[in-house]
């Protein structure tokens, strides 16, 4: 072999090592993907429609002291909220994108959520009863992450039902339910009336389960059609299903024993759905330590009728997010190995509507005016991964869009494979990286 051939073969071998899949000792095919920056991402949709005017511009004083630096608000009508469990505002533990944009499409809640979860703007009307057309961040993760993970590692915790459960997977022919996340709408599940429908399931003994399996297998063997598929929810193993069933029952027991009263340290008389939703997200984190969890809050949407209550709910959401971050930092396995990404799904109009609250403040809708496209973003994480105490973007020079969240998460968790990048129009917000 002459020198030229030696170099040629050597370089080919090295190149193949970079791009070819290989077999792990477990026997699983391990396709190389981009490297990870962290092993967990929590995506918090600080949603319901929040204006930058009340959040980062602090026109009412600082209504978000847990997230932002600034003088507290003295606005009349504000309810007391517990102090943040973090020693300093969260913006100092990461990067604040002070001026981001929800650039296209109607400023509707479900549109905004869909854009954030899929990384694609939707300019067409959305069918509220259907899964989105474009793959969700959960599907990208479960299809392209390597080594592959199960839905126990991907969770979508929604504040409400309506269209939101449909965001755990898409109708995209190359993705779909088999890559869907576990969805949970805990505040609905534990609502009075609903709770009894699940709180006392018949428990079968092991030998009874065996007999059930025998009968059911016989019945299914005699009927060729299956109820599985996109209409039947996500796909996961019986073992994983059992873990979630056990988890649900443990939550039921905890709720029944009063263990969920005064959620996350907030008196129950003040706690709203957002606070309870974050409480259950923390329970999922404690139990499963998921690699990817998305959770939303929507109670600020009371702003359509009551501006003062909007401000109150903004403060509660602010506290809840800080509590969530604090919980992550006290969870072994996730502490110092998690990035939390925070954005509202869209803003609200500049002008109020005609509904005045008890303080004479006018309520505000969101009908796609320029102000309703203004949002902020925050990316928190370990100092070696995320730039600390950094602020980017101005009104004159906004940085980042809603569609950038999915590429950013894909980059952080290392599933930004070429196939993923080719679908997504956004970019990873590298300004936040250390």
């Amino acid at each position: 072999m002459n020198r030229r051939n030696f170099l040629k073969r050597g370089s080919l071998l090295a190149a193949s090592g970079l791009v070819m899949p290989y077999i792990l000792p477990s026997g699983r095919l391990f396709a190389k993907t981009m490297s990870r920056k962290v092993n967990h991402v929590v995506f918090c949709l600080f949603a319901g429609g929040i204006r930058n005017i009340e959040s980062v511009h602090q026109n009412e004083g600082n209504l978000m002291p847990a997230l932002l630096r600034g003088q507290g608000s003295t606005m009349p009508g504000l309810q007391p909220v517990p102090r943040s469990p973090r020693p300093r505002p969260l913006q100092e533990e990461g990067t604040l994108f002070k001026e981001m944009r929800y650039a296209q499409g109607p400023t509707g809640h479900f549109n905004g959520h869909t854009v954030a979860i899929t990384g694609q703007y939707t300019n067409t009307g959305l069918n509220l009863q259907e899964n989105p057309q474009s793959p969700t961040v959960f599907e990208y993760y479960l299809k392209h992450n390597s080594p592959s993970q199960t839905a126990l590692n991907a969770w979508w915790i929604s504040n409400a039902l309506g269209p939101y459960p449909a965001l755990n997977y898409s109708k995209h022919p190359s993705y779909g339910a088999q890559y869907g996340a576990n969805h949970l709408a805990p505040t609905q599940l534990f609502a009075p009336g609903v709770y009894p429908a699940i709180s006392n399931p018949k428990q079968f003994q092991f030998h009874e389960e065996e007999a059930i399996g025998k009968v059911r297998n016989f019945l299914n063997d005699n009927f060729s059609k299956q109820a599985a598929g996109n209409g039947a929810g996500i796909v996961q193993s019986a073992a994983d299903r059992q873990k979630i069933s056990d988890f649900t029952q443990s939550l039921i027991a905890k709720a029944a024993s009063g263990g969920l009263n005064d959620p996350i340290g907030m008196p129950s008389r003040l706690a709203n759905n957002d606070v309870y939703t974050i409480t259950f997200a923390e329970e999922v984190i404690s139990e499963f330590k998921p690699e990817l969890l998305a959770v939303n809050m929507t109670d600020v949407d009371v702003c359509h009728q009551n501006y003062t209550q909007y401000c109150n709910n903004l403060r509660k959401a602010d506290y809840a997010v800080a509590h969530l971050w604090s919980h992550i930092q006290s969870t072994p396995g996730m502490a110092n190995d998690t990035v939390m990404v925070i954005i509202p799904e869209h803003g609200r109009n500049l002008e109020g509507n005609s509904i005045a609250d008890a303080y004479g403040r006018f309520a505000i809708d969101h009908t796609s005016d320029p102000t309703s496209r203004e949002i902020f973003g925050m990316i928190l994480g370990p100092p070696g991964v995320i730039a600390q105490n950094k602020t980017v973007g101005t009104a004159a020079n906004p940085v980042g869009e809603t569609i950038d969240m999915v590429p950013t998460i894909a980059n952080l968790l290392g599933f930004d494979a070429p196939e993923v990048k080719s679908i997504l129009p956004g970019r990873a917000l590298t300004e936040a990286f250390a």
Partner: protein
């Protein structure tokens, strides 16, 4: 009379000749045609979540749910992404209620054949095939662990129950 005898003789000769010809017919030994379609093959429509839960309720309780009960059941169903899991929890919950019309194991074993027929009619809206009847009878007779609750639960969580 003599003419009649000749006619009969000729007729007998003709008929016997015919019989000789049919003796050469090839006989085919085969089973009768059998319809091998699966039972329930005509069920092609997947029940909606609402239909599935509403029917499970009425099949177990013998009455339709009130509007509020149905709303609560469907809400529970929609709160979890794994539909197989949440359907299982809802069905187990329905089953674990004194309102569920489930015969005793003693009644089932006293007349297994009737129990099987009624179970198929209740949940699958059809009679069992001979094979299904044989299998279920054998299972119930020989496995003391099998109870009506187990049979009902297996039917309610089977694929055929999800279809019309």
């Amino acid at each position: 009379m003599k003419r009649l005898a000749i006619v009969l003789l000729l007729a007998a000769a003709f008929l016997s000749g015919c019989q000789e010809e049919t003796a050469e017919t090839i006989y085919l030994y085969e089973v009768n045609p059998v319809d091998i379609r699966e039972e329930g093959a005509d069920k092609n429509s997947l029940k909606t979540d609402l239909e599935f839960i509403s029917l499970a309720y009425s099949d177990l309780y013998g009455s339709t749910p009130t509007d509020q009960e149905l709303i609560n059941l469907v809400t529970a169903y929609n709160t979890m992404g794994d539909k197989e899991l949440v359907a299982d929890i809802v069905i187990r919950n329905l089953l674990n209620n004194e309102r569920a019309d489930v015969p005793t194991a003693q009644a089932m074993r006293a007349d297994v054949s009737t129990f099987i027929s009624e179970t198929y009619k209740r949940f699958y809206v059809r009679e069992p095939s001979e094979y299904e009847r044989w299998f279920m009878e054998d299972l119930i007779t020989n496995d003391p662990n099998v109870t009506p609750e187990i049979i009902y639960y297996a039917f309610l969580t089977s694929n055929e129950y999800r279809f019309f």
